[in-house]
């Protein structure tokens, strides 16, 4: 007596991101099992689940940092074709530098902590082949400005900045090249509540103004609720439920999702 959801009929655009049956084991541990997801252009997909649910591993695979044991991953972009997991290292690096942006929970993973903030952003542009100094400087400060980074601190290294500011530098680096896909791994975890609100607001603004497709992983349901159009719930490497964000929060179907939603303060 359950209703099955149809394929899209009104929305004609193809999904930007399509991952199919992705699985990954580390030794005896099955980190991700048979996960499939589609994200449409401009859509924000939230992935929730507790530690060890496989949500961050899945995100790292979408960033081509990890290769799964099986499964496929495609992006609907003119410059790439076929399963992205099959790309060689050089092609992966180029694709990540130019079309995929990522913000990590831990800024040390995404930033050179002792280089200047603008240098960190410009580095991304250099990898993509930009060599003109004036263009580098201008694009880097544009991206930092959009990320609401104070421009009088362009030369400050992230090591000297607060957690919220470091996340803004990561965000600026991630969006400097106007990526087709922005991946966010617990972007506000560990920040003060007020700073968290600022970062969330920046992301929301970015999503509305630039229509960037996003996948955001968080164990914080409030963050997901604020940003995501659609939510995927993971547990022990598997997807237990997926649906519209308000539906997942108001009428969760799976026992685990009900437990998760009811546990929220």
């Amino acid at each position: 007596m359950t209703i099955t959801i149809d394929a899209p009929t009104l929305v004609k655009a193809a999904p930007l991101l399509r991952a199919q049956n992705v699985s990954k084991t580390y030794g005896a541990v099955q980190a991700v099992r048979d996960v499939s997801a589609e994200v449409f252009p401009g859509e924000v997909l939230g992935i929730v689940g507790e530690s060890g649910s496989g949500k961050s591993t899945f995100l790292r695979m979408l960033n081509l940092e990890e290769t799964p044991d099986s499964g496929s991953y495609t992006l609907d972009l003119p410059e790439v074709e076929g399963n992205l997991f099959d790309l060689d290292r050089f092609a992966r690096r180029m694709l990540c530098a130019t079309r995929i942006g990522i913000v990590y929970q831990n800024p040390h993973l995404g930033l050179l902590m002792k280089h200047s903030s603008s240098g960190n952003v410009a580095e991304r542009l250099l990898v993509a082949g930009e060599r003109r100094f004036a263009v580098l400087r201008e694009k880097a400060s544009d991206a930092l400005e959009v990320s609401e980074f104070p421009l009088d601190r362009l030369d400050a290294p992230p090591a000297e900045l607060s957690g919220g500011m470091q996340q803004r530098v990561q965000l600026a680096k991630a969006i400097a090249l106007e990526p087709a896909l922005l991946l966010l791994d617990e972007p506000t975890t560990g920040l003060d509540v007020s700073v968290q609100a600022l970062v969330l607001d920046t992301l929301k603004q970015l999503q509305q103004d630039r229509k960037i497709t996003m996948v955001i992983v968080s164990h914080d349901l409030g963050v997901i609720r604020t940003l995501a159009d659609r939510v995927m719930v993971m547990r022990r490497g598997e997807v237990v439920e997926a649906g519209l964000a308000d539906q997942i929060f108001q009428d969760p179907q799976h026992a685990y999702t009900q437990q998760l939603v009811h546990a929220k303060l």
Binding site: M1, I3, V11, Q258
Partner: protein, 238 residues
Amino acid sequence: MTTVLEVQGLTKGFTMHHLGNHLAAFDQISFDLKAGEFLLLKGQNGAGKSTLLRTLYRSYIAQAGQVIFHSNHGAIDLLRAADVDITLLRREEIGFVTQFLVARPRVSAEALVAEPLRLAGHSAEAALQEARKWLAEFGVKGDLWRAYPTTFSGGEQQKVNLARALILPQKLLLLDEPTASLDVKARAALVARLKELKAAGTAMIGVFHHPDDVAQLIDRVIDLTPGLENEEREDVVV
């Protein structure tokens, strides 16, 4: 008048896994709705009035039935439509007015109200102009337009909420007790706006604690009291 919505055998209940039980909300509800019609849902607390609205909006997943919505893009079953299709319809054709404003940190009242227009492609400036017009219409004072509604009183928040929910004319409008906590002026503005939208063809389904507030708008009534046969549910207002 053209048909906007065809509801057939709509059934909804909640399975509560931690209690190991199933709670029925309503069973086998059927009705049609035409453009410009206003349908009032009635029944005591717990009869499933709000649940029915949320099921049509797809915040809730139905157990059985079919809800054909005649969208500008073609007919579609709202119970089974893909999430992206629902998102599209919510942006363009189906509105939901609740009793609560979903305020966002650091977003001003006027920006919040302008948002549906901006998402529909209006220029930022035009959207803001229109937003201010509706904030004034619902009686929100000018000094508050650029403030953050997170800190507003319940009544002021509700005015912002109404302005936002009603700024963009929709094909189908779901109303869940929008008059709760409104002062007289705002209530009059709400009724005037609903009247205007109705005349322009918006079909409406509403739940009102005091249906007298909107008595002049109601065309039909559906009684959700459990145990009634479908023929007994419906009542036409003359």
